[in-house]
Amino acid sequence: MPALLAAVLLALYLWVGSQTLDSIERARVNLDFILSATSRHVQLTVVSTVLVLLIAIPTGVLLTRSFARRISPPTIAVFNIGVAIPSIGLLALFSVVWDIGFWPAVLALVAYSALPVLRNTMVGLQQVDPTVIESARGMGMSKLGVLARIELPLAVPVILAGVRTALVINVGTAALATFINGGGLGEIIITGIGQNRQLVTVVGAVLTAVLALLIDYLAGLAEDFLRPRGL
């Protein structure tokens, strides 16, 4: 996978190098700008995903506890709203009710990608074999001990799958952050479209795609690495 992505980037580089660029194209298609846009894009993705983990995993854990059986459906409904609204609308909404820039964009991404992590956390915990939990409780593990040492480790593969989904959603949706001045690789694409410079559009689009595939690949590696042995 990394070799394929490197080949794509090399091909892009050679193709751009063979073209003569005008001033608009040079303003966008240069290493400094590309690097800063890419790093912004990665920041948007990583910061929003980390926030999603901090919010959705504890919420998922709480909602699967027996005392939360009643409040679980309404809470999921709230998380559902984020996904139900189209992503571009969500970004616009945040810019109107709050502000434009990096943080509103991050929060919009969080709202958009929290559900898969929440849902997978809950599913991951619910699919733990109840007899395993019973035997752990029967041996005198506390409820918290069972959660930390049995339930969460056994739910890790499913939770990680949710995190991977959220990452992929975020890296893709972050391309829209530019509409509310959030930066990222979307800025290159928008310029290309707005100024009718196909080369710029293609560079932005290819870079976005390569980044998304790279992040998905890394998330896959992390999934394999973090999955508990013995499962």
């Binding site: 007899t131 019973e134 035997s135 041996m139 005198g140 593990m141 506390s142 013995g230």
Partner: protein, 386 residues
């Protein structure tokens, strides 16, 4: 007889259910015995067992461990003192066999060397080589091995009391039989107090020092030794639950070394024909040919001797293959006998050396003796009671 567990008017009512699952159960469980809770499904036997370690909290009533009232103590601490095995075993799939068995010792704060030594000791006890199995994961084991590890895990912190809910339920019949025997062997050494739940009366008779037959709401229909229950069921419910063939089941309770063996005529494999004829002269049937190590080889009678002249004694006659051990049950022995050519089972020691034979008369005699003993014991007890 010391009482290890005492249940006093234990009642469990689940919310939203009219009838209690367990209704005012009082019961005493003696130290070092296997007490079986057996009954039809839905009778509350599993609920009763879970009330003892308070996985299910009783609605009312009290639980005593020895003389300590544990109805209100910290349940996690209580459970660390009580071994627990369930039918599905519930090994932790993401932990190695070592980590699984080390669970309770770790909770109790043992040091690493202690835990390591204990795990190796237990693995050896259950017949699994520590070096091979310590770092395996549960999915790499067979069903029978997982079940053994489940029992080892329950014994890890050496609890006095163990609760076992159909521990051999999900295993094929052959492995189950072997595991039951293995467990009885271990129990004869460790002498734990065990509460054992099953729906299988045959397992109850085989495993139990005492059986409590439960009907709905965990009402005790009869609580007695397997022998007494088989000979003298308290009522129709118990009789029906035991089912047909109580006499045959009774044979499961006695072993070969409990009864008097018979002798039969034997000759050495190297003996000449005259010697065999002389031995045969003492019996109208046949002689047992033993090899140099006195292991049984063939049954030979007069006709065999006539038919084949030159061949050695280990090649003529019929194979001596209905062989039982001193600790085989009479039921297994009877079975061997029925399929054997001479309706006689040969008893050999662990080294394979001939000890004696058992035939149908021997068993008949033994059963008659047992029944008489049981009756007189019951009569004595009724006499005391009245």
């Amino acid at each position: 007889m010391t009482i290890k567990i005492r249940l006093e008017n234990l009642t469990k009512r689940f919310p939203g259910e009219r009838e209690p699952a367990v209704d005012s159960l009082s019961m005493e469980i003696p130290e070092g015995e296997i007490v079986i809770l057996v009954g039809p499904s839905g009778c509350g036997k599993t609920t009763t067992m879970k009330l003892i370690n308070r996985l299910i909290e009783p609605t009312s009533g009290r639980i005593f461990l020895e003389d300590e009232d544990v109805t209100k103590v910290d349940p996690d601490g209580l459970r660390r003192r009580i071994g627990y095995v369930i039918q599905q075993i519930g090994l932790f799939p993401h932990m190695t066999i070592y980590e699984n068995i080390a669970t309770v010792p770790k909770l109790l704060g043992w040091n690493r060397a202690q835990i390591s030594a204990r795990v190796d000791e237990l693995l050896t006890t259950i017949g699994m080589d520590p070096a091979t199995y310590r770092s395996r994961y549960p999915k790499e084991l067979s069903g029978g091995q997982r079940q053994r590890v489940g029992v080892a895990r329950a014994m890890s912190a050496d609890p006095d009391v163990m609760l076992m809910d159909e521990p051999f339920g999900a295993i094929d019949p052959i492995t189950r039989d072997r595991l039951q025997n293995e467990f009885l062997r271990i129990q004869s050494e460790i002498k734990k107090t065990i509460v054992f739940v099953t729906h299988d009366i045959d397992e109850a008779i085989k495993m139990g020092d005492r059986i409590a037959i439960l009907r709905d709401h965990s009402h005790i229909a009869q609580y007695d030794t397997p022998e007494a229950i088989l000979v003298d069921p308290a009522d129709d419910f118990v009789a029906e639950f035991i089912g047909r063939g109580a006499g045959l089941k009774r044979l499961n309770l006695s072993r070969v070394n409990d009864i008097e063996m018979s002798e039969c005529a034997t000759v050495q494999a190297g003996a000449d024909r005259d010697e065999v004829r002389r031995a045969l002269g003492e019996t109208d049937r046949c002689v047992l040919v033993l090899d140099e190590q006195r292991r049984p080889r063939r049954w030979v009678n007069a006709d065999h001797l006539e038919l084949v002249g030159g061949r050695s004694l280990t090649e003529i006659g019929l194979p001596a293959d209905a062989v039982v051990r001193p600790y085989s049950t009479l039921s297994d022995t009877l079975n061997e006998m029925l399929v054997a050519d001479y309706a006689t089972a040969i008893v050999v020691g662990d080294d394979g050396v001939y000890q004696g034979v058992i035939d149908i008369d021997t068993i008949n005699e033994a059963v008659r003796g047992m029944r008489a003993a049981e009756r007189s014991r019951l009569a004595d007890r009724l006499g005391e009671g009245g």
